[in-house]
Amino acid sequence: MTLRIDPKRVEDAAKELYIRALKKLPPDIKRGFDTLVARESDSTAQSVLGVMVKNIAVAEATDNLLCQDTGLPIYNVTIGRNVVVDGVALKAAIRRGCERATREHPLRSSVVHPLTRVNEHTSCGEGMPVIHIDFSDTFDGLRIEMIPKGSGSENNSWLRMAIPAEGIDAIKRFVVDCVLDAGGKTCPPTIVGVGVGGTSDLCVHLAKRAATRPLGTHCADAQGAALEAGLSKAVNLLGVGPQGLGGDATAFAVHVELAATHITMNPVAVNMQCHSARRASAVFTEAGVEYGY
């Protein structure tokens, strides 16, 4: 059986996903808070974490947004097996859904033209929403993941084109220094996403993928997984703490994603996800659309 994807259903899902992502944190992030609360030794940090946890409950009880920053909308589409989809129609449908969420909920449009700074109040514009399309042979159907990326964390993004002679130490040092540089601006505790290798643009993209990966998942590469384990411990020795007000809970975790790179290159990028690590997903199958995280 081949599933034909109806653009109207994609449009509805794109709208629904944006609103869902803004209102309810995924279970892995909630568990991440439990872990941080259990090991926090600083009293100010305990009270800051307590407010964050309370906010998650208030957002659910009042059916409200977790954070006022509706972010830059990112849609990650994965096309599985046995699917027929009109790519152009799919992208247009996602854009319409994003616009409808903004108008119909309503949501604050956080999107402006980069030069004129004009806000069309649609959460859309040139190249926005961001839509990534990839393929997978591990499932039947189509999956759309939606990530509203807040600007507090996005405004602190780094790329360094290190060289081979600097080795892996340059990567480790860079990540520690980015966490120090970010301080409280990125709304810690964060998920620190680290991209290693690739081209400059791929490296930054990997950092974003790492920052938005569910907690408890690991880099598929064994060396990458070892690096993220070491960095996760190290950045939490710094004492930046929740909101940069001091404490143990600087990061939920450091995530690493990597790609092969050039013999002369050793690029590293850092992108962070704030504590409101929002994410929602929809899977289209023969049975219908199933929402999750």
């Binding site: 309503p106 604050r108 950045v235 001091g246």
Partner: protein
């Protein structure tokens, strides 16, 4: 470490009494400002009819819904979700806010830098840290959107909120030259070597 209930507007003395690590709950009124609001006011010379003297401002751009003007919604806006943005981008506007507009309290997240700390000392001001990313909770502390000015900048308009039990907020920068962010950052930089050693990296 004391707790204060402050009803806006406040006097210079009331603000100078606050010390880092004290906590404050605000009552009555709060103004919302953002990057574009302050670029308009201080770079482009646009005046506002709203009187900020002795008042508190919060770094925000809210999610709102346009509604009919009524007693409940005097500005024709209902709040959907109101939260706080990263303060540091607006660092250069703290001094004119205090000097020219008479603002006494800045509420924000992530902290501000030297210029703001100097302005707090010089004019008598304070920075209150709110927990960023907790807008659902913050929205429950806001009773109404009372007024709005410079609304062509929406959502970065100048907002006037009626508030109740807004807090507790943490005094993170005071008028005596103390900044919690500076002390945390200094301590964190001192721990850099330990973090790198844990990664088997020299320096």
């Amino acid at each position: 470490m004391a707790h204060y209930e402050l009803t806006l507007p406040v006097t210079e003395d009331a603000v100078r009494a606050l010390r880092v690590n004290d906590t404050v709950t605000l009552q009555h009124r709060l103004f919302g400002i953002r990057d574009a609001t302050q670029i308009a006011m201080f770079d482009r010379g646009r005046a506002t009819r709203l009187d900020l003297r002795g008042h508190a401002v919060i770094h925000t751009a809210p999610n709102v819904k346009k509604v009919a003007v009524s007693d409940e919604h005097p500005a024709g806006y209902a709040s959907v979700c109101i939260g706080t943005t990263t303060s540091m981008r607006m660092e250069r506007f703290t001094e004119p806010l205090l000097r020219d507009c008479g603002v006494r309290i800045v509420v924000g997240k992530g902290g501000m830098a030297r210029g703001s700390l100097d302005a707090f000392r010089k004019y008598g001001g304070v920075y209150l840290a709110i927990v960023g990313g907790t807008a659902a909770l913050e929205t429950t502390w806001i009773e109404a959107i009372e007024d709005v000015d410079l609304d062509d900048l929406n959502p970065e308009s100048l907002w006037q909120f009626r508030i109740r039990d807004f807090g507790p907020l943490l005094v993170a920068m005071d008028s005596h030259g103390q900044s919690l962010y500076d002390s945390v950052n200094e301590a964190a930089r001192d721990r850099r070597a330990a973090a790198l050693a844990a990664l088997n990296v020299a320096r």
